[in-house]
Point group: C2
Chain length 657, copies 2
């Protein structure tokens, strides 16, 4: 270990961070200055990766969970030689077009493993990466050839450890015995409001021991200590490790260090000057030549190591052609179509049940599909009999018992997806999607193709009552950019919806599924499967020029068909599996289904918001209040959400027209 070089790297992290933040007049110097030594150690010594091949599958992952300290990461990526992070990017920190965005953004620059900033999620996402590593290792390594074998390193701050999602994920990580997860806790005891004494006085070490972690402590500013602790973390293979590093926020800023002032605002020109004087540097954006030289050599080592892996990978490929073929399928991204289950008109089953049949079929065709539920395996119907349960004793298992931890489940699933090689799904009751919403937003922001199986998708949940009946949730998914919401109307549509979800590569998909049984209905159009993919199709055409178009989603298509059968008049019934996808179609496609100038009624067991695009307020048959506890049909009656009421509305509309 070249301590002198590491010191110069730390110095450079401080220099670049101070100046970039000062120049941007925005940013968080506290972490990059306070944890610069850890950064120097990680990138200069510990991490096994290669800037020349940032996507190398077996690289060590590093997650900056405390994403506000983004300059920490940018300075190190630049020094390490990630080509897309230039000094110019750093000089334009937090400006439009710079790769050095306000918070680390996945996809903007190779080397950023996840978007972070929303606190607590980074470490939870890293848990997912560590899970993925063990899954792939179990699948691909052989007794003689190890091709999946990397660590997942994380830097967390006080903020991350106060958030509930980190608690959920850490408890599960301990249970899962993720021995290759190594978390450094930058314990500076300062948050925005001031000292952690204001709100955070628990004993973190004891808490993590309770989770089943190895807990180590040391100083942020002793490289020997960092090396020793990291070795100890690696030596403990049955427990994740938390390394608590006592640190000083904003270290190096003579007047502001160890105060909340250093956390989230530029230090100010005077303080920057004083810091530079104290650090013995002059000029702006100073990069220590020793740091540059060190990484120049390091890059050779990294490349050598990566090439050694590639040679091993070639040997493994030759010896294990089947595994290699599977590896290629895992990393290809294109899912296999599989043999979707078929249903017959008149079959009566819940779409969650049909979803299970599709999931089982697709999981058989796509062995890289993994996932689970937040303790609702049965109710969500997401069990995969042949997939095995993932755990310390069975790393090859593909079903994950996430426990009653919806938020961590989704963040961990993000991590599994980000890792590469695997496709992830996760499941809970739709109403509890509120618990995981921040992770869903990150799935969308990072364009991760997660599949969210959300069952019990309306008041037809019944007896569990308003706390368990989604009302605003379908609308809540549709308003989030990049999310695809699919609400299939019967078993046949559900199988297609699962295929559509798996086909999607560039963002998360919600599968909104019913608790209650629904009869498979007859589709007039033999080409409905193709048209379904436009977001909507005619279940019942009514006439070439109908008198009224009745648009419904999910279980309400059945309601719409019932109502249409009760009235006089040429009523067209449309199943709109995805409003956002249909709204993205050409006007021609849209008008082929919903002709202009004809009265429209929209029917959905949820709030009306968003349907105003398709009809007048009076034409929306919706539920704009919380639900009730009772058997589902009685709840529907109590809320006036019945086929009779819908038929009456249709008749009234027909009369007006």
């Amino acid at each position: 270990m070249d301590i002198n070089a590491l010191e110069k790297i730390a110095l450079t992290v401080r220099s670049l961070s101070m100046d970039a933040i000062q120049k941007a007049n925005s940013g968080h110097p506290g972490l990059p200055l306070g944890a610069a030594e850890l950064g120097a150690f990680l990138y200069g010594e510990a991490l096994r990766q290669d800037p020349a091949d940032p996507a190398w599958p077996d690289r060590d992952r590093f997650v900056l969970s405390a994403g506000h300290g983004s300059m920490f990461l940018y300075a190190l990526l630049y020094l390490a030689g990630y080509q897309d992070m230039t000094l110019e990017d750093i000089k334009t920190f937090r400006q439009i077009g710079s790769h050095a965005a306000g918070h680390p953004e996945y996809g903007l620059v190779p080397g950023i493993e996840t978007t972070s900033g929303p606190l607590g999620q980074g470490i939870a996402t890293a848990v997912g990466m560590a899970v993925a590593e063990t899954m792939l290792a179990a699948r691909f390594n052989t007794p003689t050839r190890i091709i999946v074998d990397h660590y997942t390193y994380v830097l967390v701050g006080d903020g991350c450890l106060q958030e509930g999602v980190s608690a959920e994920a850490s408890s599960l990580a301990g249970h899962l015995q993720l021995g290759k997860l190594i978390v450094f806790y930058d314990s500076n005891r300062i948050t925005i409001d001031g000292s952690t004494d204001l709100a955070f006085t628990e004993t973190v070490a004891q808490r993590y021991q309770a989770y089943g972690w190895q807990v180590l402590t040391g100083s942020m500013y002793d490289f020997e200590d960092l090396a020793r602790l990291t070795e100890a973390a690696k030596a403990e293979t049955a427990k994740p490790s938390l390394i608590i590093l006592t640190s000083v926020i904003g270290k190096g800023a003579p007047h502001k260090q160890n105060t909340a002032d250093a956390h989230g605002a530029p230090l100010g020109g005077e303080e920057v000057a004083a810091a530079k004087a104290a650090l013995g540097i002059s000029g702006d954006f100073y990069v220590a030549p020793e740091a540059e030289a060190y990484f120049a050599t390091k890059r050779t080592t990294w490349q050598t190591n990566r090439r050694a892996w590639q040679e091993e990978f070639q040997r493994w490929s030759k010896e294990n052609p089947d595994k290699r073929a599977e590896w290629d399928r895992f990393y290809a991204g294109e899912p296999a179509q599989g043999t979707l289950p078929r249903f017959a008109a008149g079959d009566s089953l819940a779409t969650r049940t049909a979803g299970n049949k599709a999931l089982v079929a697709l999981a058989a065709a796509n062995p890289n599909l993994v996932g689970g539920s937040a303790d609702l395996k049965g109710p969500n119907a997401v069990g995969i009999p042949d997939a095995g349960v993932y755990g310390p004793a069975n790393r090859g298992g593909r079903y994950i018992h996430f426990g009653i931890r919806e938020f961590a489940m989704a963040a961990i699933s993000n991590g599994i997806s980000l890792h590469g090689g695997l496709r992830a799904f996760c499941a809970t009751f739709m109403v509890f999607s509120d618990y995981l919403r921040p992770a869903l937003r990150l799935s969308a922001l990072m364009k991760q193709p997660l599949i969210y199986v959300l069952t019990h998708d309306s008041i037809f949940v019944g007896e569990d009552g308003p706390t368990h009946q989604p009302i605003e949730h379908l609308a809540s998914f549709r308003i989030m950019p990049g999310v695809l919401t699919l609400r299939p109307a019967d078993a046949e549509e559900t199988a297609e919806a699962w295929a559509m979800a798996l086909e999607r590569q560039d963002g998360p998909t919600i599968l909104a599924l019913s608790r209650q049984n629904l009869k498979v209905f007859t589709k007039e159009d033999p080409d409905w499967r193709k048209k379904l993919r436009t977001g909507a199709y005619m279940v019942k055409k009514g006439a070439d020029v109908p008198e009224l178009v009745l648009i419904a989603t999910g279980s309400e298509v059945t309601l719409a068909l019932e109502a249409a059968a009760m009235v006089q008049g040429k009523v067209r019934v449309v199943s709109m599996i995805s409003r956002e996808r249909f709204e993205a179609q050409s006007k021609t496609v849209q008008e082929g289904v919903v002709p202009p100038g004809i009265p429209v009624i929209c029917c959905e067991a949820g709030v009306r918001t968003g349907w105003e695009r398709w009809t007048s307020p009076e034409g929306i048959f919706s539920i704009d209040r919380f639900g009730e506890s009772g058997p589902a049909p009685k709840v529907a009656e109590a809320l006036g959400f019945t086929a009779q009421a819908l038929a009456a509305l249709i008749t009234a509309k027909l009369r007006c027209a």
Copy 2:
């Protein structure tokens, strides 16, 4: 302690629960059967309350955090003599109109202290109740007269303790040294998926010790133990207590107890019969006469105790007339108007800053207004200089440092509000409202008048980038039933918005406030303050019959005024502080502001959803993608969200019309 009677109470809880769930063919027998002894002990022995006066301010609170075990609570409320919980209600468990709803619903029956069911929130809400007790005790007790002195009891299960929100709240409860919070952990080690070994193997006791709690352990089925443990919990006045009770889920059901089958489905007729035989009872809905007799006597004791308190309260009132007057104001519900800050046209300040001035003024006029932020006191601008910081050393403090725990913050605030006597606000960045959304939903469902101060309400956050820029959030509040969203456009509107939020008694209010400075604009209508309360008013009338109506909210009103000044044509500019409130007005009021048949443009720095009611898709000036990192004006430029672009849209619309 009459152990025989307590046993009969437990027997009755089992009997009623089994039969009610069986009759409903829906429900969760596992908890009521498994924890019946604790229920008997709590209601038969520990709780100090009075069914004859369920609103008695100094009653002990009991929160069934594991709300799915609702029959546990209903059986006990019935036995204890809460008049609104009848045997008929229990016989119609989970039917429309029954007071025995699927999950306990606040407001349906006195004796239910909070709605529970969404796991983890019950205990967090209870933390808020315990906080409120200490605040009121500090305010009203005197050295010689104690009128606020009660415990907050909670029952949690494995599920509650896996959820992150309980972790956040428990950490804070330990920090706050809430010695009168006593949590019983029904540790049956079974969840829906099966054994807790599947996902939850941490050492809970050690974790709670790390939080600074007293942890005690014992058996669910030993009344002496329960009494001893409860006394020990009370004896520890500087720490909350977690009492871990080893239990058997579904105890009494001979074949299903200790299995996941007992958790969430009726036992089945055969198993109910077998259980009854084993318990030595026959007939349906059996109520042990000894239990009835015991509570008949108990009610007298309860009444005597409550009357003793009332006498003490009268003595206290006489000796402390000022305190009594304050008490009455605290419990009246009607807030004092205070002297709202005034601003002058041309003043330039962020609405968050204006909000702070209003908050300080209203807090001075309403000493029962308490709250805080999730570590963003400065950025959210919610400090109240004279209010003091709440904590173990200052129970009279009114500002709460919640730490970086948004979800627990909101759930705790629900508890403070539910306790009675206090009004609560809480604050974070708007984008992180996602973290607390499940608690916001409960605020709405329970009609609690919480005030959510959500600052940094758009892409004009700037440099922090897409993770910190709300896009879909305003829409996300508006779709939730019972939530009032106020987005004031300048400092003057902000002061009024705070007053409107405080006036509201029947549900939560969102105050959406800007990070960036906004100039106070001139209002043409002297009566604007009154009209603001209808949800929208004309900032600039344009003409009696304008050529175009430009509706904007919040900071976009300034943008709208700028754009309107750039174009030729009679443009009316409307500030719509609350779309939902305006949509609830009569057609006359609405058309007085937005006349029919005139082109409309809606302008908001967020998704378009919901604005379709007011204009065609082309008339919506919105942001339907995630943001960018950069200085706010540059972000707006990058997204095409500028006054110039809006002016161009207006001009185009005017030409078409």
